[in-house]
Every structure is written in structure tokens, then in C-alpha cells.
């Protein structure tokens, strides 16, 4: 690359675009599907498939523990995997602001390549648009993922049943607070790092051992509280959560307390929620804890029939309260 910054020419479809595609995208994302540079990718996929799409607009684009490129891979890989599928292919679309440093784009695409390789997925087709400065914030990335469903009864938010156990694979709120701290220039005693990671290999191991998992969900935007509320609503059950069992790192808990935020509503990008018959809970926890991505896995609650559609939190004191879905975004308070 000779250009230092991305120019409108590079989204024009002409030679400049071609140089960007071959010199940068193929360099880091290339494979037998993408290298053909046809109008579409020819895929050989069999059986039921899981498809998910997501658009990533994170600010800042580089943050402790990751960047928008890795996030665009992890996020979609995880969504595809949560349906009991092996993610295989990704498509990606870039909307790039004119003037973005080429070095930044290269860092993002290299990070995507690395994340895709670790997750074992191939980027099979893509698209690049460059838009005038000010019409988009640096870079937006859309990814669509395709995976082959390998369990007979795919996990779904509708399948939580009374008597199920509720597990989480690790600490809540790391990603959300890391992004916020980086964006606002806040620093805490201990650094807060995003947890963004692809969970598909762990999910496959879990489902191969326990095919009866009822629900898998990654608690991204809206965090654990929102995700549990969605599941309680979809399944028409009560999710009863025991507050003292929810894993939250002390630095996240402290940072949230300082800012007036609740870690249970903050986004996670490398964690999942697993709801399954209680008799499998210990086995599932053993599998999760054997993986670095599930090291802090914990049983946090149970599914009941008492308050359909609601998430009820039991506090360490033994009191109860509702854990409702958030209205709008979390905002820092006055005092």
C-alpha cells in the first residue's frame, strides 16, 4: 500500500479498489472461496443451517482486549454457534470513512483474519464501500455467518423449562466497561479488558457431551439482565437468579459502582448463558471450566414457573427484587 489514508477512489470499483482488495483483504482473509473473486461464493453446505448477521459500529475501534475487526468475527461466530451449529463461513461488508489511516484498516483486517482462523471459519465473500468523511464514524463492519447445526434439537430461547439450571460461562460486564472506560478516558485501579472471543469450540464440546441443552445465548448488548428477560419472555417462565453467585470481577464491580452503572446490564462479547436440565449442570460446568474461555463458569440460578416472563433476583440477604429489562441505555448518574 502506498496510500497513507483511505481515499474515495478505493471504493470506486476501479483499479484502486482492486489494489485494496488484493493487497489487503486477500492478504489477511484469503482462502479458496474468497480468492476466486467471483460475484458470489459457491458453498457446499448440508443439513439444517444457522445464519446470523450483525453490524459492528463500536467506538473506539481499538480497545483493551480487542478491536472492531476481531469483534466482527467473534460476535457473529458466537451468534451462529448459539443455535447448536458449527460456524463455517462468514461474509463481511465494510463501510469505511474516507481518510481512515490505512495502517488502522490493515490492523483491523489482520485481526479479523486471525480471529477467523482461530474460530475455524472462512470469509467467503465481502464488500467494501468508502464514503465521504463525516458520513460514517471511521469504519462499520457487517458480518453474516453460516454454520451447520449438529444437534437434533437446536437450543432456543423458547425452550427454558421449570427445573432447568441457569449457568454463565464467566464474569459479566468486562467488555461493556472496557469500551466505556476507553471511550471516556477513564482509568481504574486494575485495567478492565474486553472478553471478546469466539466461543464455538467450547460450545461444540459442550453440545457433543450434552445434547439436551435447552438455551444458549450470548449476553451481548443489554447484558445478562436483558438476555434473561428475553428468555423468560420467550419461554413464559421465571428466571430466578442468585445475586451472590453471579461472577463479576472486582474491578468491574468497582468501576460500575463509581459510574452508577450495573454490570448485569453491560455487554459481554466472550461469554454465554446456558440453560439445561439441572441434572446436567455439574457436567456442563466441568466442561466449561476446563476451557480458558469458561474458567469462571458458575451456576447462577434456576428456571421456575412462579412468575412467568419475569426475572427475579435473590440478594445475598435473602431478599427478592425484580431484575427488569433496561429502558434505553444506561447513563451515568448525577451523584
Amino acid at each position: 500500500m502506498s496510500e497513507e489514508r483511505i481515499l474515495l477512489d478505493q471504493g470506486s470499483g476501479g483499479k484502486a479498489s482492486h489494489r485494496l482488495i488484493t493487497g489487503l483483504f486477500l492478504k489477511y482473509l484469503g482462502n479458496e472461496y474468497l480468492n476466486r473473486l467471483d460475484d458470489a461464493a459457491f458453498l457446499d453446505v448440508s443439513g439444517p443451517i444457522s445464519v446470523s448477521t450483525d453490524t459492528f459500529t463500536v467506538d473506539p475501534i481499538f480497545f483493551p482486549g480487542g478491536d472492531i475487526g476481531a469483534l466482527a468475527v467473534h460476535g457473529t461466530v458466537n451468534d451462529v454457534a448459539m443455535l447448536g451449529a458449527r460456524p463455517r463461513f462468514l461474509t463481511c461488508g465494510f463501510i469505511i470513512e474516507e481518510g481512515l489511516a490505512v495502517a488502522d484498516l490493515e490492523r483491523i483486517v489482520a485481526s479479523m483474519g486471525h480471529a477467523a482462523s482461530e474460530a475455524g471459519v472462512k470469509v467467503v465473500t465481502g464488500d467494501t464501500k468508502v464514503v465521504p468523511r463525516g458520513t460514517v464514524d471511521k469504519i462499520f463492519i457487517n458480518t453474516t455467518g453460516i454454520g451447520e447445526v449438529f444437534v437434533p434439537d437446536a437450543p432456543s430461547g423458547h425452550r427454558a423449562a421449570a427445573g432447568d439450571a441457569i449457568l454463565v460461562s464467566g464474569c459479566m460486564g468486562d467488555h461493556g466497561l472496557a469500551i466505556l472506560a476507553q471511550r471516556e478516558g477513564l482509568s481504574f485501579e486494575a485495567p478492565v479488558v474486553s472478553d471478546c472471543a469466539s466461543l464455538n469450540h467450547l460450545i461444540v464440546r459442550l453440545l457433543e457431551a450434552i445434547p439436551e441443552v435447552h438455551v444458549l445465548r450470548d449476553p451481548t448488548r443489554g447484558g445478562l439482565a436483558t438476555t434473561l428477560n428475553e428468555i423468560a419472555g420467550q419461554s413464559g417462565v421465571e428466571c430466578r437468579i442468585f445475586e451472590e453467585h453471579i461472577p463479576v470481577r472486582p474491578e468491574v464491580s468497582g468501576g460500575c459502582s463509581f459510574l452508577g452503572l450495573d454490570p448485569l446490564y453491560l455487554a459481554n462479547e466472550g461469554k454465554f448463558l446456558c440453560i439445561l436440565p439441572a441434572r446436567y449442570a455439574d457436567q456442563a460446568l466441568s466442561i466449561m471450566r476446563a476451557d480458558p474461555l469458561g474458567h469462571d463458569a458458575t451456576r447462577i440460578g434456576e428456571v421456575r414457573a412462579d412468575h412467568p416472563g419475569k426475572v427475579v433476583l435473590e440478594t445475598p440477604l435473602g431478599g427478592t427484587r425484580l431484575m427488569d429489562m433496561l429502558e434505553g441505555e444506561q447513563l451515568p448518574r448525577i451523584c
Partner: protein, 360 residues
């Protein structure tokens, strides 16, 4: 174990709770005068564990909730002028008299920035010398000193494009207004820890001396709150009414003299309008003439307009502890967090929002 873990210890809390219930000698109606207490009482589950004889009332301690409609209208009007508004996040969703919010203004093109500290607003002014930056100064004695300090820095630096739209409220005059209300049914006040860290304990002594109402300055952890309740029960059994500082790890009797000095340098007490309560003499802070160059009211020639009261909204009775939030006819129907009629429902520390959000 960190400093705060002991104040959350479930066994200790349960022991104090048992003591409270064992010693309770009749109905105890207590009011907390701080939004953070409100939220803590719900979030910790303390409320769900209290006997029916302990009636918990939320007072006028949420700074967003007591911001008068005319003040909300003033900052919404200002947002429509060609200025950058810097604000704490709580104010973004507060509806004005015509249901406008800063969020809506932002979507329509107003330049509104959420900040975490008034010094962030000062930085915006430094970084944008061609723009006028106005910080919305809402809050109690807790936030007033920091905002006063930013105004002092702005003056020292000659930062002419930074100003404050100041609607600060003072807690002791509001408590005096409540305590003097012949219809008051509150038997004890849980006093605000954050505010007290600034003003100390002495400004509350009148509660016990003049009105015979026991009061406790308390922290925000479950054990702090239960300890305060136990003190109320004990004082009543012993026929005493005192103002007790039970938050000595943070609050000294004299308060924070440095903070008080800067507050006094920039602000002077004035009468203020409280939403739902009305005018309370000496309960607000006006920006002194020496700081007129950083006073948005004067710079933009703003005046508070008369705004009609919202029909059916009983925010005032909620703030005065005369009714519980769920006794307001609008609660949960016309007024919800998605479509709040009043700030009590929109603020994260509002009593109506807490009832709506946490009650199973």
C-alpha cells in the same frame, strides 16, 4: 475482603434485622432523603425483608426528580440555541412540560454531550473555543462544589465560552419544609450520606431539637441502612430524638470545609422551586455576581416560565411521603419508564422508577 464487604455481610445483616423486628414497638414510618438510598434499599432486597410495620417512604432526594418543570423547560430551550450542552446522563430522558427531552433534542440536531464530571465539560469548552458550552448544573450539595470549582478554573483561565445553567438545591431547607408540614407522617429521617459528606451533621440538628424527629446519617450498604433503622427503633423505645452520624467513615460533623468554601465562593443561597413541592425559601443556589460571566441564565438572558402542572401527577405527594409511588393514579399506566410523566419515573434514582423496576 475490601472495606465494603463487611457492610454487606448477610449474616450480620440478618442479625440486625432480627433485632429490629424483635424491638419494634409499633409502626415505624421512615423516609430516606437520598436517591442512592432509595435504590440501595430496593437493590439489596432490604425492602422485601422488612416487616409490614416498617413503612418505607422515599423523600425529595433525587436531584432529577425535584428539578422543576420550568427549569427542565429552560434547559430544553437552551439546547435549541446554537450551543453545546454538557450534562450528566440522568437528565437526558427527563420530559419537559411538552414531553420534549434532551434525547429528542439531540436526535433533532442539538449538540448535547453526556459527561461524567463537570471538568469534562470544561475540557469541551477548552477544545471548542468557537462554541459556547453550557453545563447543566443540577444536583444537591454533593455536586455543587465540583461545579463551583470548574467555574473558578474557567474564570482563572479566562474561558469565556464556558457557563453553567445552575439549578442546585439544598437539602436542609427542604427537610425543614417537610418537618414543618402539619400533615407530615414521617417518624424518622435517613439522612443522605453523600450530601452529609459535604455539609456535615450540624445543619440537620434542628430536626431533633425543633421537631423532635430522630434522624440518622447513613451509608449506602445494606448494613448501614439496617443500622439506621435499628437506631430509630432504639431511640423511640428510649424516648429520645437525636441526630446521629452513623456514617463516620465518610462524614465528619463539620463536613468538607474545602468543598464548602468553594461552593460559598461561587454560589449564594436563594429561593428555589421544587417539583411537586413548590417554592422553598433559601433552598437553592444562585451564581454570585462575581461569576456572572459564567452564568448561563444571564449570558443567554433566560427566565423561568410558568408551566402548567400535569393533571393527575402526584409527584409532590410522593416526594413528601404522603403517598407511595404506586398510589399515584398514573403509576404504571400513563406513567412508566418508557413513557414517564414525571422525573420520579425517569430518573434511575427516582422513587417511582425504583418501585416500578424492582417490585416483583
Amino acid at each position: 475482603m475490601n472495606l465494603f464487604d463487611g457492610f454487606k455481610d448477610p449474616q450480620l445483616c440478618r442479625a440486625v434485622l432480627e433485632q429490629i423486628h424483635a424491638e419494634l414497638d409499633g409502626e415505624l414510618r421512615f423516609m430516606e432523603v437520598c436517591g442512592t438510598h432509595t435504590v440501595s434499599i430496593f437493590r439489596s432486597g432490604v425492602r422485601s425483608l422488612l416487616s409490614d410495620k416498617i413503612v418505607h417512604l422515599s423523600g425529595p432526594g433525587c436531584p432529577v426528580c425535584v428539578t422543576h418543570d420550568s427549569e427542565v423547560a429552560a434547559f430544553l430551550d437552551l439546547a435549541e440555541k446554537n450551543v453545546i450542552i454538557a450534562t450528566f446522563g440522568d437528565l437526558m430522558r427527563v420530559p419537559g412540560p411538552d414531553k420534549r427531552t434532551l434525547k429528542m433534542a439531540q436526535a433533532a440536531g442539538a449538540r448535547v454531550k453526556v459527561v461524567y464530571s463537570p471538568f469534562d465539560a470544561l475540557k469541551i469548552a477548552q477544545d471548542n473555543p468557537g462554541d459556547k458550552v453550557v453545563f447543566l448544573g443540577v444536583g444537591f450539595e454533593t455536586t455543587a462544589p465540583a461545579i463551583a470549582a470548574t467555574m473558578r478554573v474557567a474564570r482563572e483561565q479566562g474561558l469565556a465560552n464556558f457557563s453553567v445553567l445552575g439549578f442546585h438545591k439544598l437539602v436542609p431547607p427542604a427537610l425543614e419544609a417537610l418537618a414543618g408540614d402539619p400533615e407530615l407522617k414521617v417518624q424518622a429521617f435517613l439522612l443522605p450520606g453523600h450530601v452529609s459528606a459535604i455539609i456535615g451533621v450540624r445543619p440537620y440538628l434542628f430536626l431533633a431539637e425543633k421537631y423532635g424527629i430522630p434522624a440518622v446519617v447513613g451509608g449506602f450498604e445494606p448494613l448501614d441502612i439496617l443500622q439506621a433503622l435499628h437506631l430509630f427503633v432504639t431511640m423511640r423505645r428510649e424516648g429520645r430524638a437525636e441526630v446521629v452520624n452513623a456514617y463516620t467513615r465518610v462524614v465528619s460533623d463539620a463536613g468538607n470545609t474545602t468543598a464548602l468554601a468553594v461552593m460559598d465562593e461561587v454560589f449564594a443561597p436563594t429561593d428555589a422551586l421544587w417539583r411537586g413541592i413548590g417554592l422553598i425559601p433559601g433552598s437553592g443556589l444562585a451564581i454570585r455576581d462575581e461569576y456572572a460571566d459564567h452564568d448561563a441564565m444571564r449570558i443567554f438572558d433566560l427566565t423561568l416560565k410558568d408551566v402548567p402542572e400535569i393533571k393527575g401527577c402526584r409527584c409532590g405527594d410522593v416526594l413528601k411521603g404522603k403517598i407511595g409511588p404506586n398510589q399515584c393514579p398514573l403509576f404504571g399506566t400513563a406513567c412508566t419508564p418508557a413513557s414517564p410523566v414525571g422525573p420520579c419515573m425517569v430518573s434511575t434514582e427516582g422513587s417511582c422508577a425504583a418501585y416500578y423496576k424492582y417490585s416483583v
